[in-house]
């Protein structure tokens, strides 16, 4: 009896030890190969890096509608469009399981580079591949609403745009103050990271995909919009044949309307039809959305007679669904997400394009 007991215990212990030992030894072996790789890879071009990482299957992206620019980039350099699914931290990049990791310039890249709380402290030892430089940029954060909502409440839409753009303009010119406003409004990240994010977001708003300065906030540049739509048609894969067909026939007129923006800029609008409105963000409260927080804090929404409720995102119900349901009136999404939603049968309308260039980069260790 006693003997059997000890034998069972020993067997269990041996099993656990084998399991842990096995993992441990493999870990060290991968680490050594990593260091040799990084020493070789100092003077590669972007293309060489993309090809090398794709061949190893070590290009990372979050998927879930964020992957199209990466797929376009991989296709451009003759690689398959497969990528590794990256979690919402940069641990995969840190431990080398992803060599080309997706990062937003204003968020993940800051965490990789900076040494504040939560940062990975890489400093200048990392480089980036910018989607804008490779002609595969797709436009991101915009403002949209339901087409029927815009038709029924044109003055509300114009007033909302007018005040929001004023908020964005102030935020981009006073990024530290804007970061503080977002932080106080219930930020999801540290105040240091918020400041970094605000300054990076301002760059995306004030510069277009070609690197030219933009002064006309919110404009829907036809060329960049068309590039976004063309890439979306190529890389958004829909299994539903009805949706897929509709995607193929979409034109810019099906996804955006510039008239509200023009009227808002000219100040040409009357009293809002609906005064209590809400906007659904694409993600948690952070400086990515500082324009709305600033407009609210500075009273710009009050000035045009609106009472705005800012609804944080980040859950599994997408912003397109929330707006289409009528749960919220306005939303912030990426143009590609709006395109796939409209292909599936939603009737959404972009009314302003806040980010003028892609904030997505691939980050690598030099």
């Amino acid at each position: 009896m006693k003997l059997r007991r000890t034998m069972a215990l020993m067997a269990a212990a041996a099993l656990i030890a084998a399991l842990l030992g096995g993992c441990g030894s493999e870990e060290t072996s991968t680490k050594t190969t990593e260091t040799t790789e990084t020493t070789q890879a100092t003077s590669m071009t972007d293309e060489e890096r993309i090809v090398a990482a794709a061949k190893e299957g070590k290009v990372g992206n979050w998927g879930l509608g964020n992957e199209y620019e990466i797929q376009a980039l991989l296709t451009k350099y003759g690689q398959s469009t497969d990528y590794l699914v990256q979690s919402f931290d940069m641990d995969g990049f840190d431990d080398g399981s992803i060599t080309l990791a997706s990062a937003m310039t204003y968020n993940e890249l800051g965490l990789v580079v900076n040494d504040y709380e939560g940062g990975y402290k890489y400093g200048d030892s990392v480089g980036i591949i910018d989607m804008n430089d490779h002609g595969v940029a797709m436009l991101e954060d915009n403002i949209f609403c339901k087409k029927s909502f815009a038709e029924q409440n044109p003055n509300t839409v114009k007033a909302f745009l007018s005040a929001s753009l004023k908020g964005w303009e102030y935020a981009c010119n006073n990024t530290e103050e804007a970061a503080q406003i977002v932080y106080e409004a219930g930020s999801s990240v540290s105040s240091d990271h918020q400041k970094y994010m605000a300054s990076e977001v301002a760059k995306l708003i004030k510069t277009d995909t070609k690197g030219n300065a933009v002064s006309d906030y919110g404009k829907m540049d036809p060329e960049a919009m068309q590039q976004t739509l063309d890439l979306a048609k190529k890389y958004i894969k829909l299994d539903d044949s009805a949706a897929s067909e509709k995607l193929g026939t979409l034109t810019l007129d099906d996804i955006r309307d510039t008239s509200y923006l023009e009227a808002a800029k000219a100040g040409d609008f009357g009293t809002p039809e609906k005064t209590d409105v809400s906007i659904q963000l694409k993600w948690l409260p952070q400086a990515q959305f500082m324009g709305y927080y600033v407009a609210k804090a500075k009273g710009y929404y009050d000035e045009v007679g609106l009472n705005v409720n800012i609804v944080s995102g980040g859950g599994d119900i997408g912003e397109t669904t929330a707006v289409n349901n009528g749960t919220v009136d306005f939303g912030v999404t990426w143009v590609s997400n709006l395109i796939s939603a409209n292909s599936g049968g939603m009737d959404l309308l972009e009314i302003a394009q806040i980010y003028q260039r892609s904030g997505l980069v691939l980050v690598y260790k030099k």
Binding site: M1, R4, R5, A8, L9, A12, C23, E26, E27, T30, G57, G63, L64, G65, L84, V85, Q86, S87, D91, G92, D95, S97, I236, L238, D239, D240, S241, A242, A243, D316, G318, T320, T321, N324, N325, N337, S340, A341, G344, G345, M346
Partner: protein, 267 residues
């Protein structure tokens, strides 16, 4: 007489759910469900559209089903075997056993969404192939979930014996091995099925949710999530229907197996 009655009973027990299902489907197709739930045909697409998508994408769906079912079956088998071994261990040494089983069952209380990322991270170095390491991680999550229900139930089956049966065995001077084979093991079989009735649907859900967190994009659960996030509800519903079918088929197989085993045992 009894035989005919039995047939009638089993016919109605199949017929009523079938009629109920058809009524629901018809209400769904006619939009009655939509007005009850105050939703539109976008969030809750019509059955005809869902089935058209399933037919059109049969190969792709099958690929994802294969990936999910592989994880479910291996995880279920591994978890059940390990759980049973743990139950035997706990029976052999009750001192450590009780505590050990409590620890194992504590795994059941950890939400999958919390455990999956931890396991994904842990298995990072298992293979250089993302598909392999993702599959291993998903299997481990399912295994842990299935272990708990099996170990608790099997432990009861191995120990809640008929009064005096253990005394009887001892009076025959049966050794531990004989007690196990002739008494404890047969006694535990119905408990094994009780455990499986919990862990079969549990393993389906666990596998689908753990796919959310896998590095490699594969599986029915992954497709559901991706399609919902890019607002493709019809396609997501096609995969939801497929996920339901996987659960129903596995459960039906389990019931059939139970019928065979327990009937043989009775006769």
């Amino acid at each position: 007489m009894t035989k005919r009655k039995l047939n009638f009973d089993s016919a109605t027990s199949l017929l009523y759910p079938l009629i109920f299902g058809i009524v629901i489907l018809m209400m769904w197709q006619c939009g009655v469900l939509h007005s009850i739930f105050r939703t539109d045909e976008y969030i809750l697409p019509y059955p005809t559209r869902i089935f058209r998508i399933i037919i059109e994408n049969f190969d792709k769906i099958l690929e994802n089903v294969n990936s999910s079912v592989f994880v479910i079956i291996i995880g279920l088998a591994a978890g059940s075997v390990l759980g049973y071994i743990a139950a035997i261990g706990a029976t052999v040494s009750p001192k450590f056993g009780k505590g050990g089983l409590t620890v194992i069952s504590a795994f059941n209380a950890i939400p999958i969404v919390a455990m999956a990322p931890v396991i994904m991270n842990w298995t990072k170095d298992v293979s250089s192939d993302a598909e392999v390491r993702s599959t291993v991680a998903k299997i481990i999550v399912v295994t842990l979930m299935c272990m708990a229900s099996m170990s608790i139930n099997a432990h009861r089956g191995l120990n809640e014996l008929k009064p005096f049966s253990l005394d009887l065995m001892k009076s025959y001077a049966a050794d531990n091995k004989t007690v196990f084979l002739k008494l404890r093991f047969p006694n535990s079989i119905p408990y094994i099925f009780t455990a499986l009735k919990v862990s079969v649907p549990g393993s389906v859900i666990t596998a689908l949710v753990s796919e959310y967190f896998a590095e490699y994009r594969a599986g029915v659960g992954r497709q559901i999530r991706e399609n919902i996030l890019i607002a493709q509800y019809s396609t997501a519903w096609a995969y939801i229907v497929v996920a339901c079918l996987i659960g129903i088929i596995l459960f039906a197989l389990l019931l059939a197996a139970e019928g065979i085993f327990l009937k043989r045992r009775k006769s």
